[in-house]
């Protein structure tokens, strides 16, 4: 063939519609994927680790060949695209034949066909019509759909089961393409990001993987979050109570846990991490007036709390781990195990503004000289944050549809056997009239042989019943019917 311009599309078609090309492509995909698991990958591994693991030259070349990010490299995408192309072209090439086979099943029983069939049995009968009727009854009893073939010389029956299973392979390949489509849609339109929330914080921005920020049309508010532990201290559950806020209104609330995300507007919010911010969230105190009984109050940083009509108290400073030198309070570390709190007590009436330190470690109540109150430490809560993984995957439904379709396709392709039976009344080699029964299956021959024997046995029983009803006298006259058929 000449190398004309016109032949190029044809040649491409010929190359990719070839199973061998498909297999070579798959082998390349396998090799590339394996490399991608052995070589440390960029987004998952931090740069430090990569520079430690490889020499600068190696790393340079790995980066140049995008071997440090195989699964997002253009050549890997191209490979997958070529595999898809190959699947499509191979299927297109093979489809017409399969469709012809599917749409116009071969029902005729000419002698060539009969001699070529592997499973066949001949049962002697006396009368063609009677024999076929008996066979039809037997097949109906076994729940085979039976068809009479009228357009050929010999009266015949045809039946088949699960013809659609010959098309299952196309369903499987289509489902694979569907999954690829879902993946491509997600690759183009989907994104993944992260969001960190503290208690009562409301955020409408997520940080994408590449560091860019994306603003959402709604915001997420965290009411509370927490961690539960097993008795041995290992984490049992992380949870966050979240709300979706749009235009100032709360439109959805949900407590999410690790395996159960919040879904809103095509986005999913996953519980991804939980931790302490190192800041104080709330301090619980017992505030006791000079006369009378105390009451418990909860203080947050710089938020005044009224004690009575004139007096208010504010938490002004928090030191997680303190020490005192020269009558001054200093911070030693960030571990919140030896805290100190500075309170500010204001009196509107007198204009007094008292500052006093509370050291829970000393176990004493803090009393100011100018205040009527004493404060006793009860409890403190550390601030926490909950980390949410956010993902937008519009193509995932195609992926799940593809998975279901593939499951169905595999089931049909592997476990539903296309079985066909032809039954015709013809003279055998010696000229006797027989009921010729032939069958074929496209897979699982053992199973089919069992089925076939079952069919033959039932027909035989049915034939015996018929001849018993017709009476034994005519048993020795097979030749008469033979003449009638001819």
């Amino acid at each position: 063939m000449a190398f004309t311009v016109l032949s190029i599309p044809k040649r491409i078609h010929k190359t990719f519609a070839n199973l061998r090309t498909g297999v070579v492509l798959l082998i390349l995909v396998v090799i590339a994927s394996a490399l991608g698991t052995f070589i440390l990958q960029r987004p998952a591994t931090d740069a430090d680790k990569l520079t430690r693991a490889y020499s600068p030259t190696t790393l340079l070349w790995l980066d140049r060949l995008s071997l440090t990010d195989v699964f997002h490299a253009w050549w890997f995408m191209t490979l997958l695209a070529l595999v898809s192309l190959s699947i499509i072209l191979v299927s297109i090439d093979r489809f017409p034949n399969s469709w012809r086979f599917y749409a116009r099943p071969y029902r005729k029983t000419d002698s060539h066909f009969r001699s070529a069939l592997a499973s066949k049995v001949e049962l002697p009968i006396r009368d063609a019509e009677q024999g076929l009727n008996a066979a039809e009854r037997a097949l109906k009893k076994l729940r085979w759909p039976v068809e009479r073939i009228a357009y050929q010389k010999e009266p015949a029956l045809y039946c088949e089961r699960h013809r659609f299973s010959v098309m299952a392979v196309y369903v499987i390949h289509a489902s694979l393409l569907l999954i690829f489509c879902g993946g491509i849609i997600d690759g183009i339109f989907g994104y993944n990001g992260f969001m960190q929330l503290q208690r009562d914080q409301q955020v409408n921005q997520i940080e994408l993987r590449n560091g860019a920020k994306k603003t959402l049309p709604f915001s997420i508010k965290c009411y509370s979050a927490g961690q539960e532990n097993y008795a041995d201290g290992s984490p049992k559950k992380w949870w966050s109570r979240l709300a979706v806020i749009q235009d100032g209104k709360e439109i959805q609330t949900k407590e999410i846990v690790v395996n159960d995300p919040l879904v809103h507007g095509g986005l999913r919010f996953y519980q991804a991490s939980f931790g302490m911010t190192g800041n104080l969230d709330a301090l619980k105190l017992l505030a006791t007036p000079a006369s009378g009984s105390g009451r418990e109050i909860t203080l947050r940083m710089n938020e005044p709390v009224d004690l009575d009509a004139n007096t208010s108290v504010t938490l002004a400073e928090y030191i997680p781990d303190f020490f005192i030198r020269d009558n001054q309070v200093f911070k030693r570390s960030d571990n919140p195990d030896n805290p100190a709190f500075r309170l500010q007590v204001k009196n509107k009436a007198t204009g007094d503004d008292a500052k006093l330190w509370l050291f829970p470690a000393y176990g004493e109540a803090a009393e100011g000289q100018k205040t009527n109150y004493s404060f006793t430490y009860r409890d403190m809560q550390m601030g926490y944050f909950t980390g949410l993984e956010v993902s937008h995957e519009p193509g995932q439904w195609l992926v799940w549809a593809g998975c279901l379709l593939m499951g169905a396709g595999l089931f049909v392709a592997f476990y539903m056997v296309h079985m066909r039976l032809w039954i015709v009344a013809v003279p055998d080699a010696r000229g006797r009239l027989v009921l010729w029964i032939g069958g074929q299956a496209n897979k699982n021959r053992d199973r089919f042989d069992q089925k076939f024997n079952e069919v033959v046995d039932t027909i035989r029983t049915e034939l015996e019943k018929t001849s018993a009803a017709a009476g034994p006298a005519r048993k020795e006259q097979p030749n008469l019917t033979l003449v009638a058929v001819k």
Binding site: L26, A34, T37, Q41, S234, A272, G407, L410, R445
Partner: protein, 472 residues
């Protein structure tokens, strides 16, 4: 041919009577059980605890393995019946062990590599019996039972305490995903065993088995030497912290290795022993000299002895001892439990070599007992037809679960990628078989390769390529 016959005479042990091995194995099983019972009686504790049940399963699986191999050596068909009974008892004990663990933890045993192996062994034993009864592949156990024994021994060394589920694993999809995985992996194991049986029945030359067996054993030992041989003949093994029952870590993901002096030389010797048959075979082929082949077969025998010596030495020197580490001052304790995969590799090597000897001595008897090559070929294909949809379901369930937990259904994590590779390899097998009509040897090699990839995905990825899929 005549030289080979002579060798067979030399190497074949005196033919034992029909009952000798049965009695021996029976006594061994009884002895091991009595010893264990005495231990339980002395130590108190529950008779039907999981570890005891697992021990019973191990004893019976090992008995079954010995009988299958005994059949290989003596050709007494009756051994196979007893072996299959022994497998069934082992399976019963294994089932009880699974049930006990399930009852104790209140969830199916799928959450750690130990629990996965527990389920995997169960599935392998169940499928072995199924293949025997349903497909008439009588001696499939001679391949699957050693596999089961290796797995149970590995399990004795892996951390086995019931751990509560971490949040990511608290999902129904865990059960769906892992059940499908174990079933498909067991079906893959079975297809591999059937493919090997096919190669035996298909009159593949015994020398070729020699080559592959020796290549496998050599690969195991070369792998050990390449990664663990230290200067001046030491062998490095992981340090073991007995109180936390885990490896000693220097930093995140960095294990502390200690050096056992002089043990490395023994491994070099075993490597040479494993390479020797291979070298002899290839030299013989290059020189067209058939007389080297019997020597190569003898070399296999020597190699087994060497492997056993190395295993024993390894066990004696590593078990509860302390050695210095090149990375840090001081002596650090070691334990067999710290090196489950070294041990697993060594035991696999011994079993593989023994299986080869069984083939060498009793090929005709084996062939007499196996179904026809054609049947084996078809059953291999059928097994893969079962494994492949299960594998597909396993990946799909995993993807769905990952989407609920990690926020993405596919992250190209090593485990995911290797599961996809496994899937592609079996898809390749199916395509070649269905559209290209690959039958017989090529298909059998493909099936064996497929199981190799499965084992790598199951165990190799977990220990070599850590990623998101860190549980098992």
């Amino acid at each position: 041919m005549s030289t080979r016959a002579r060798v067979v005479q030399i190497e074949q042990p005196a033919a034992t009577g029909g009952n000798a091995l049965l009695v021996l194995v029976g006594l061994a099983v009884a002895f091991l059980l009595v010893v264990a019972l005495l231990g339980v009686a002395k130590g108190g504790g529950s008779l039907f605890s999981e570890s005891n049940l697992l021990y019973v399963a191990l004893v019976f699986y090992a008995g079954a393995g010995a009988l299958y191999m005994g059949f290989g050596v003596t050709g007494t068909a009756r051994y196979v019946t007893f072996a299959s009974t022994s497998t069934a008892i082992g399976l019963a004990a294994n089932t009880l062990a699974v049930a006990h663990r399930w009852y104790l933890s209140g969830r199916p045993p799928f959450a750690s590599i130990y629990e996965m192996l527990l389920s995997f062994v169960w599935a392998v034993a169940a499928l072995t019996l199924l293949a025997e009864k349903k497909f008439g592949v009588k001696i499939i156990g001679s391949i699957t039972m050693p596999l089961a024994v290796v797995c149970v021994i590995l399990m004795q060394l892996l951390p086995s305490e019931v751990r509560p589920l971490v949040p990511a694993l608290q999902s129904t999809w865990l059960h769906v995903h892992v059940t499908l995985a174990m079933l498909s992996y067991a079906a893959c194991a079975l297809s591999c065993a059937l493919a090997m049986m096919f190669l035996i029945q298909d009159d593949l030359k015994t020398e070729i088995f020699l080559v592959w067996t020796s290549a496998l054993v050599s690969a195991i030992y070369i792998g050990i030497i390449a990664t663990r041989f230290e200067r001046w003949g030491g062998l490095s093994v992981t340090g073991w912290n007995a109180s936390t029952k885990s490896d000693i870590f220097l930093g995140p993901g960095m294990r502390l290795f200690v050096t056992v002096p002089d043990l490395g030389w023994l491994f070099v010797l075993a490597t040479l022993g494993a390479i020797a048959p291979l070298a002899l075979y290839f030299v013989g082929r290059a020189k067209r000299d058939d007389s080297l082949l019997p020597i190569a077969n003898k070399a296999v025998f020597i190699s087994i002895l060497l492997q056993i010596v190395v295993l024993a030495a390894f066990a004696l020197r590593v078990r509860n001892a302390s050695y210095p580490s090149p990375d840090q001052e001081g002596l650090f304790p070691t334990s067999l439990a710290a090196s489950p995969f070294l041990l697993g590799g060594m035991i696999t090597g011994i079993f593989a070599s023994l299986l080869y000897l069984m083939l060498l001595w009793r090929r005709a008897d084996l062939q007499g007992l196996l179904p026809s090559a054609d049947t084996l070929d078809r059953v291999t294909y059928k097994t893969i037809c079962i494994a492949f949809p299960l594998l597909t379901g396993m990946i799909a369930a995993g993807a769905y679960w990952a989407n609920r937990t990690w926020g993405s259904y596919w992250s190209w994590d090593p485990k995911e990628t290797w599961a996809a590779i496994t899937w592609l390899v079996y898809a390749g097998y199916l395509h070649m078989r269905i559209t290209r009509g690959w039958r017989g040897r090529r298909a059998a090699y493909f099936a064996i390769l497929g199981f190799g990839v499965v084992i790598f995905t199951f165990l190799g990825v977990t220990y070599l390529l850590p990623g998101l899929h860190a549980y098992a």
